[in-house]
Structures are given as structure tokens and as C-alpha cells.
Amino acid sequence: MIDFINFYLFPALAIGSIYALGAVGISMIFGILRFAHFAHGDLMTMGAYGVLAAAAVIPVYPVFLVPFGMVLAIALALLVDRIFYQPLRNLPTIYTVISSFGVALIFRSLVQLIWGSQNQVYGSGGVRPPLILFDTFRISVLHVQAVVATAVIALLLHLFLSWTRTGRSMRAVSDDPELAKIAGLETEKVVRWTWIIGAALAAIAGLFAGMDTNAHPNLGWNLLLPMFAAAILGGIGKPMGAMAGGFIIGLAEELSSYPWIGDQALISPSYKTAVAFVIMIVLLIVRPQGLFKGRLL
């Protein structure tokens, strides 16, 4: 039981928070811009490498350098929106989806070009000893940070969407872009904020993912599928649903390799991603609006 909590539940919550932070951006972009942003994983990679670059110069614990990753990811997101997505906005969204595929490849190639394709560890490196609670629970400091950060972000995002003018405008555009235009809302400003929030959260997720293992050019791309599964699970256009979806997918993936029956892993850890995939497909067939009544794709 203790093993279950230490080696399965805690890591599952940590990977869940990484998915949650990525999925919320995917869900918001889908809700407001109405396309599946396939470059979102690579935007996470960019954020992770932004911190890596800063860590090479500033010798502090990398988590403190997350603003550098966020700024890089936000700048890139706004730039690619301006160059590659905005001109396609009046065409069917499939054009933008394909375009975002291209952007994903561009991001990955840039990372390889600038930082090389090998694995890289964060500056201060070294493995921190885990926190030990009540002499039994062992939990990595990084995992605590990821889960706490995600919880705080979820709360702030909820308050932002419920109570600020920009947040409410975002929900209005997500509900009905045509009516939002008629009501005189500034759609382009809403789009800008969607990228800013989505990219900032992607950078945080990318950093935690990179620090949990190491930074490499495929870091975010490998996380894309479970993040899409999480966004669909939560219901497209439902940011809080996507957050919950992230945790559900993270838990499902990690806990599927627990030896529930006998002492073998129920499903080999190498098939983890398949678990997310299966959940996504089943859900699309059975309940395409997601668990929390989102929009149909």
C-alpha cells in the first residue's frame, strides 16, 4: 500500500499536473480559435529549453527561472499566430491544424539546431533527496512543486475566467464568436490572451516535464497525445474540465502499470501512452462532449 502511494500515486499526480497544464491551453485554444493546436507540445519543449538556457547563465534552482521559459513560449506563440495562423483564420480550420503541424516541426528543428538533439539536464543537476513524511511517505520535491503549482494555477485561472473582463470575454468568444463580435467584443485581444495564457502554462508544464526526466527535443511532442486525451476528456472549451482530465489521464496511465493482480505490472509501463489513447478513442465514441459537457468537436 505504501509502495502504491509512493511509487504510483504521487508520480501519477505529478504527471497529471503536467498534462493538466498542457491540456488547459489546448482546450482554450480549441474553444476560442476552434482548431487543434498540434504545436502545443513543442511549445512546451520551447519553454523547457528557455529555462535551460537561462540556467546555463544564472546558477539558481531552475524552477525560479520559469519566467524565462514563459516569456520565450509566449513570444513564440504570438509570433507564430501572427505569421502562420492569423492569415488562415477565415479558411476552414483544417488549414490551421495542418499549419500547426508545420509549426511543431519548426519548433523541434529549432531546438535541435540551437541546443542539439542529445538529452540535457538542468544546471544545478543532482538529485534532490525526497521529502519524507511520517517516516513512510516519500515524495519528490519536484512532484510536490508541480502539484502545488498546478493547484494554485487552476484556482487563479478560475478566478480570472469568472471575474475579470478579459476572462469573461474569453468565455463569451468561446461560447459564440459571432455573437461576441456583434456585442462589440475585441476578438483579437481575446485571441492574444488565449495565446499568452496557453503558452505560459505550456512553459511551466514543459519545465516540470524536463526536470522530471531531462530536456530533449521530443519532450513535448511525446506528451501531446495524452494532453489531447485530457482536453477531450474534460470537454473542449472547458478549461477546468481539461485540468481535471489531465489528472485523470495521468492517474490512469500510471496506475495501469501497478501490479493490481499478482506481482506483475497490470499493463507494462511501455504501453502507458496507449492507455491515454484508448481512453480518448472510447470517449470520442461514447461521449464525444467529454465528461463535463463541452462542445462537440
Partner: protein, 239 residues
């Protein structure tokens, strides 16, 4: 007498052949004007063209002395025009209160709380529903939310596309009564309506379109009495 809104020789459509051609009419301050006509006459297109939601080939629209050419929708709202489309006219996942609040973003009123109170006095039914998502309300209540949202920016002119579409006869009369109340607050109303007879009873002027062109314009009373209009659009004899 200077018109609040003046439409001159408007020809517009949606990229293809024009839906409306050479349409002209005036809307006087503080009046209710109604655009009538058979299905497909281009009534809604006239409203959308005034609000810059179509491709305008020629003609012009002047509002309070300002030529609206080149104005986008948020600029329209800022100078005092608000619009309520026929269907999908509330934000379904936003609460009623949030729907009203969103109405103030493009052109914030001087005192938001006071404006909200005025709107809720017009639609007292909404008071109990303020925290409910607008998508959960009945059609008639949604129409009130939509009108309320459009009033929150304190417009001078409201463009309403069939505000009674799909409503029960009881609600239909309430909406028409509300339009009279709204006019009392000093707002000018231009509406498109299928329920021609009832609309003409509250309207100061009516403009009948046929095949995208002006057919006849006159006062509401005169149109009600007009034999050809009555025969063609007000029922009675089969057309």
C-alpha cells in the same frame, strides 16, 4: 426633421449576387420602425448590412450624421448602435448576470450598476435567474437576456432581428409591450418581424421589402389600412 439613421441606395449580399438592391429608408429618433416582407425578401440582410456584417457593394448608411462606411461592429457599439440577432443571441454558458456584464464591455456606461438596475426594471423576470446559465432559460427569457445585453451599452438605436421568432403568443405580446417600454426610455428601434400585423400596431413606420427592393414605406397605421399590403403580407386572403 433629421433622421437618426438614413439608409441610401444600399446594395449588399454575402459575396455572391446581391440579396438586397438599392434599398433606402430613414429611421426617425425615438421611433419604432419595422421592416416587413415575405420570406427571402432580404429583411435580415438589411439589418446585417447596417451593422457591417455583409459585403456592401454600394450605397451608404448614415447614423446621427456619421457615415458608417468602414466602421466595424465594436465601433458601431461605441457610437450607440446595438444589435440582437435572431437565433443564438445569448452566451449559453455565461450566467444571465455575466451576459448583461459582457454587454457593457465595448461601450461602458457611465454607471454600470445603475444601467443594470434600469435593465432589470424592464425585465423583472431576470432578477431571479441572475446566476443561472443563460442557455438553461426558456426561449422567451433568453430573448429578454439578449435585449438586456444589447441595452447595457445604453444604445441610441437597437437593431432587432425577429425578436418574437419561435415564441408563444403570450410571450409575443410581452415582447412587443417591452419594445414600447424600451422606446419610452429614449431608444430608437429598428426591427425585422414576421408577425407583421402585431408589429405594425406598435410601429411608427413600416418599410415593406419585396425581392430585396423597396416596395412601399409608410406609417404603421397606413400600412395596416393599405389594401395591397394587407392582401400580400397580413394574411386574410391567401397570397
Amino acid at each position: 426633421m433629421s433622421a437618426l439613421l438614413s439608409v441610401r441606395g444600399l446594395t449588399a449580399g454575402y459575396g455572391g449576387p446581391p440579396i438586397i438592391e438599392d434599398v433606402s429608408f430613414d429611421v426617425e429618433p425615438r421611433e419604432i420602425a419595422v421592416i416587413l416582407g415575405p420570406n427571402g425578401a432580404g429583411k435580415s440582410t438589411v439589418l446585417k448590412s447596417i451593422f457591417a456584417l455583409t459585403d456592401i457593394a454600394s450605397g451608404k448608411v448614415v447614423f446621427g450624421g456619421t457615415d458608417l462606411a468602414g466602421c466595424d461592429t465594436s465601433a458601431m457599439v461605441r457610437i450607440g448602435i446595438s444589435s440582437v440577432p435572431q437565433s443564438r443571441n445569448v452566451f449559453p454558458t455565461l450566467t444571465v448576470d455575466e451576459n448583461l456584464d459582457v454587454g457593457t464591455y465595448a461601450a461602458p456606461p457611465a454607471d454600470k450598476a445603475e444601467t443594470r438596475e434600469k435593465v432589470l426594471q424592464l425585465f423583472p423576470d431576470l432578477r431571479k435567474k441572475l446566476n443561472q446559465p443563460a442557455g438553461e432559460l426558456s426561449g422567451g427569457q433568453r430573448q429578454m437576456v439578449a435585449l438586456g445585453r444589447a441595452l447595457m451599452c445604453e444604445p441610441k438605436l437597437m437593431l432587432l432581428d425577429e425578436p418574437t421568432a419561435g415564441l408563444s403568443p403570450a410571450y409575443l405580446e410581452r415582447i412587443f409591450d417591452l419594445l414600447l417600454d424600451i422606446r419610452e426610455t429614449g431608444v430608437t428601434i429598428l426591427l425585422v418581424e414576421q408577425n407583421a400585423r402585431q408589429a405594425l400596431q406598435i410601429a411608427d413606420h413600416g418599410h415593406v421589402l419585396v425581392n430585396g427592393r423597396n416596395f412601399v414605406s409608410s406609417t404603421g397605421k397606413a400600412l395596416l389600412a393599405d389594401e395591397s399590403v394587407r392582401r400580400s403580407f397580413l394574411g386574410g386572403a391567401a397570397a
